[in-house]
C-alpha cells in the first residue's frame, strides 16, 4: 500500500507541474502589456518599460516560468499586480473561506446524497427510486445561480430566516459562521446531490447483485446486517473517489455562487484576477486550488486503499 500511495503522490506532483504549466500558458494569453495595465494610460512608455523590467516580464517566457515556479515552491507567491501587496495574505483568507464553505456543503451533501442513493438502490425500480433519481437529476441540472437565487428569495427575503450574504460579520462565532454559510451550501447541495446520489446508487446496485451478497443472504443473515456489512462497504468505495473529484469544483469553481452571495472565496479572487489581468494572482491562485484538489484526491486514495484490501495488499501476493 505504501508504494501505491507513493506512486499516487509522485503522480500528483507531476500533475501539479502540468497544472502550473497550463495556467502559466493560459495567463500568457491574457492580452495587454502588464506595465500598461497597471500604471494606467497616463504613464510614459519609459516608466512602463521600467516597470515591466522590474517585474521581469520582459524576459523570455520560460525564464519567467522558471523564476515564478521556483519562488512558488519556496512558498513565495510573489505579490499582486493589481493591489501591489503580497499575494498570500490575500489568498489565504479567501482560501480559508472557500474551505469553510466547502466543508459545510460537504457535511450537508455527502450524507444526504449517499442516503438518497442507497435508498434508491434498495427500492430499485419502485416509486422512491424514480423520485430520488429524478429529483437528483433535476436539481443537478438547474444552474447554480438559479437555485441560489431561489434560495435567497425564499429563506433570505420571504422568511428572513437566513442571511443572504455568506460573509459572517468579523469576529462572530462558529455557529454564526455556519448560519451564514447555509444558503450557499444549500445551493451547492442542490448541484451535487444528484451526481453523488447517482454514483452511490450505481455502486449499491452493483453490490446488491454481487454473488457475495447472495452468499450473505443465503447464510441467513438479517437483511439490515447484510446491507451494512456486505453491501455498503463495497458499494461506497467508488463513491469516495467521486466525491473527491468534486473538491476542485467545491474549492475553486464556485465563482458564480460566490458572486451571488458576495462571498470572498478563492473563486472570486481568481475571477477578478482574470478579469483585471492580475497575472500573478491568477497563476498562484489556480495553483493553490490545484494543490488543495490533489490533496483531496490523495486523501481519497488513502481512504480508498484503507477500505479496499485489494489495493492495501497490492503486490503482496
Amino acid at each position: 500500500m505504501a508504494r501505491f500511495l507513493l506512486k499516487r503522490f509522485a503522480l500528483a506532483i507531476i500533475t501539479l507541474f502540468m497544472v502550473s504549466v497550463i495556467v502559466f500558458m493560459v495567463a500568457q494569453l491574457l492580452p495587454g502589456n502588464i506595465g500598461r495595465n497597471v500604471l494606467g494610460g497616463f504613464a510614459t512608455q519609459q516608466s512602463v518599460n521600467e516597470y515591466n523590467h522590474a517585474l521581469g516580464v520582459d524576459r523570455p517566457v520560460y525564464v519567467q516560468y522558471a523564476s515564478w515556479i521556483s519562488k512558488f515552491v519556496q512558498g513565495n507567491l510573489g505579490s499582486s499586480l493589481e493591489y501591489k501587496v503580497p499575494l498570500w495574505p490575500l489568498l489565504r483568507p479567501s482560501l480559508v473561506n472557500s474551505l469553510e464553505l466547502a466543508a459545510v456543503a460537504f457535511v450537508l451533501v455527502v450524507p444526504l446524497s449517499i442516503l438518497g442513493g442507497v435508498l434508491a438502490a434498495l427500492r430499485r425500480g419502485r416509486v422512491a427510486d424514480r423520485v430520488i433519481t429524478l429529483t437528483g437529476l433535476s436539481l443537478t441540472a438547474v444552474p447554480e445561480f438559479v437555485s441560489a437565487i431561489i434560495l435567497i428569495l425564499v429563506f433570505g427575503l420571504l422568511f428572513k430566516v437566513l442571511p443572504v450574504n455568506a460573509n459572517a460579520p468579523p469576529g462572530s462565532g462558529f455557529f454564526t459562521h455556519i448560519r451564514y454559510l447555509l444558503l450557499p451550501a444549500m445551493a451547492l447541495t442542490m448541484v451535487l446531490f444528484g451526481y453523488i446520489a447517482r454514483m452511490a446508487r450505481a455502486g449499491t446496485i452493483e453490490a446488491l447483485d454481487a454473488d457475495y451478497t447472495r452468499t450473505a443472504f443465503l447464510k441467513g443473515i438479517p437483511t439490515r446486517t447484510v446491507i451494512w456489512r456486505h453491501v455498503l462497504r463495497n458499494s461506497l468505495l467508488p463513491t469516495i473517489a467521486v466525491i473527491a473529484t468534486q473538491m476542485g469544483y467545491l474549492i475553486g469553481g464556485l465563482v458564480v455562487i460566490e458572486k451571488v452571495f458576495n462571498y470572498n472565496g478563492i473563486g472570486q479572487r481568481i475571477y477578478t484576477a482574470a478579469s483585471n489581468k492580475d497575472f500573478t494572482m491568477l497563476e498562484s491562485g489556480v495553483l493553490v486550488i490545484a494543490i488543495v484538489y490533489l490533496t483531496a484526491m490523495l486523501i481519497a486514495d488513502i481512504l480508498y486503499s484503507v477500505l479496499n484490501p485489494r489495493i492495501r495488499h497490492a503486490g503482496a501476493q
Partner: protein
C-alpha cells in the same frame, strides 16, 4: 453406417430484428427518454423558429416596462419593456447553437484522442492522461473564464473554449472503453490479418464504443449548457440585445429581491432547467438502454 440421416441445420433460429432498430424500439419504450426528447425537441424547434413564432419582437424595446404576466404579455415584460415570453422562445437559439457545437467539437476531438491513447498506450497515453488530470485539477469554469476574458467572448471563442476544455474529459471516457475493447480477441484477430492501426482503431474498435460515446455526448451537452449558462451569467455570453436565458437572468435577478418582477427571471430559469433536465433524461434513457 452410411445411412446416417444428416439433419440440415434447420432449427428455430434466434435471428432477432436488426440490432439498431431494436435499440430504437427500446428507447421509445423508455419514459425518461421520450419525455426528455419531447422537451428537447421543443427547444430545438424554438432555436430554429423561436424568432418567427414569438408574438412580439424579442428585442423590441417598449415603454411598457415590467408589466406583469397578462394575455398580451404571457410572461410579462422586462425593464426595457421587451416581451419576456418572446425572449424565452427566441432565447433557445443562442444556447442551442453554442452548446451543441462545443459538445460536437469535444466529442470529435475527444474520441480521436481517446482511441489513440487507448489503443496505442505508451508515452502519448501517459502524457495525455497527466494533462487530463491536470485539467481536472483546475476548476473548469475558472479556465473558461480566463480564456474567454483573454480572447474575448465571441460565440466562436466560447464554442472553442468549452469544446477544448471538454475534450480530455471525453477522451478519458473513450479511452476507458477502448482499453476494455482492446483486450477482446477481435483486436489481435485483426492484427493477425495484417490490419494497420488506423483500421483497427476506427473500423474495428470505434463501432464498439459508440455506446459510451453517445452517453458521454448527451451528458457533456448537459454540462455544456450548464457551463455556458454560467459564463453568460457572469457577462461572458452573447451581446445584448440578443435574447439569452442566462444573460437575461443575470440582468434581472436583482429585481427578485423586490419581491415583485419575479417573471423577468423565473421563466428563463425554468427554460434553462427544463432544457438541461431534458438532456439528462435523454442521457438517462440512453444509458439504461445501452447498458442493459
Amino acid at each position: 453406417m452410411s445411412s446416417a440421416i444428416v439433419l440440415p441445420d434447420v432449427v428455430p433460429t434466434r435471428v432477432r430484428p436488426h440490432a439498431r432498430r431494436e435499440t430504437l424500439r427500446l428507447l421509445l419504450r423508455s419514459k425518461t427518454f421520450v419525455v426528455g426528447s419531447a422537451i428537447f425537441s421543443w427547444w430545438v424547434f424554438c432555436a430554429f423558429f423561436g424568432f418567427a413564432i414569438a408574438p412580439h419582437d424579442p428585442t423590441g424595446i417598449t415603454p411598457s416596462t415590467l408589466v406583469g404576466p397578462s394575455w398580451h404579455h404571457l410572461f410579462g415584460t422586462d425593464t426595457l419593456g421587451e416581451d419576456v415570453f418572446s425572449r424565452v422562445l427566441a432565447g433557445a437559439r443562442s444556447i442551442l447553437t453554442i452548446a451543441p457545437l462545443a459538445t460536437a467539437l469535444a466529442i470529435v476531438a475527444g474520441t480521436t484522442l481517446g482511441l489513440l491513447t487507448g489503443y496505442m498506450r505508451g508515452a502519448v497515453d501517459d502524457i495525455v492522461s497527466r494533462m487530463t488530470e491536470a485539467l481536472l485539477a483546475i476548476p473548469l469554469i475558472v479556465l473558461a473564464i480566463t480564456i474567454v476574458v483573454a480572447i474575448g467572448h465571441s460565440t466562436a471563442a466560447i464554442v472553442i473554449v468549452v469544446g477544448v476544455l471538454f475534450t480530455p474529459l471525453v477522451a478519458r471516457t473513450v479511452r476507458a472503453a477502448v482499453l476494455a475493447e482492446r483486450e477482446l480477441d477481435y483486436v489481435p484477430a485483426a492484427r493477425l490479418r495484417g490490419e494497420r492501426a488506423p483500421y483497427i482503431m476506427f473500423v474495428e474498435i470505434l463501432p464498439n464504443v459508440t455506446g459510451p460515446i453517445i452517453v458521454e455526448a448527451t451528458v457533456r451537452l448537459g454540462y455544456a449548457v450548464f457551463t455556458i449558462a454560467g459564463l453568460s451569467f457572469l457577462g461572458l455570453g452573447v451581446q445584448p440585445p440578443t435574447p439569452d436565458w442566462a444573460a437575461d437572468i443575470s440582468n434581472n435577478y436583482n429585481l427578485l429581491e423586490s419581491g415583485t418582477y419575479w417573471w423577468t427571471v423565473l421563466f428563463g430559469a425554468l427554460a434553462i432547467a427544463s432544457l438541461v433536465i431534458a438532456i439528462n433524461l435523454i442521457a438517462d434513457g440512453i444509458t439504461q438502454v445501452l447498458e442493459r
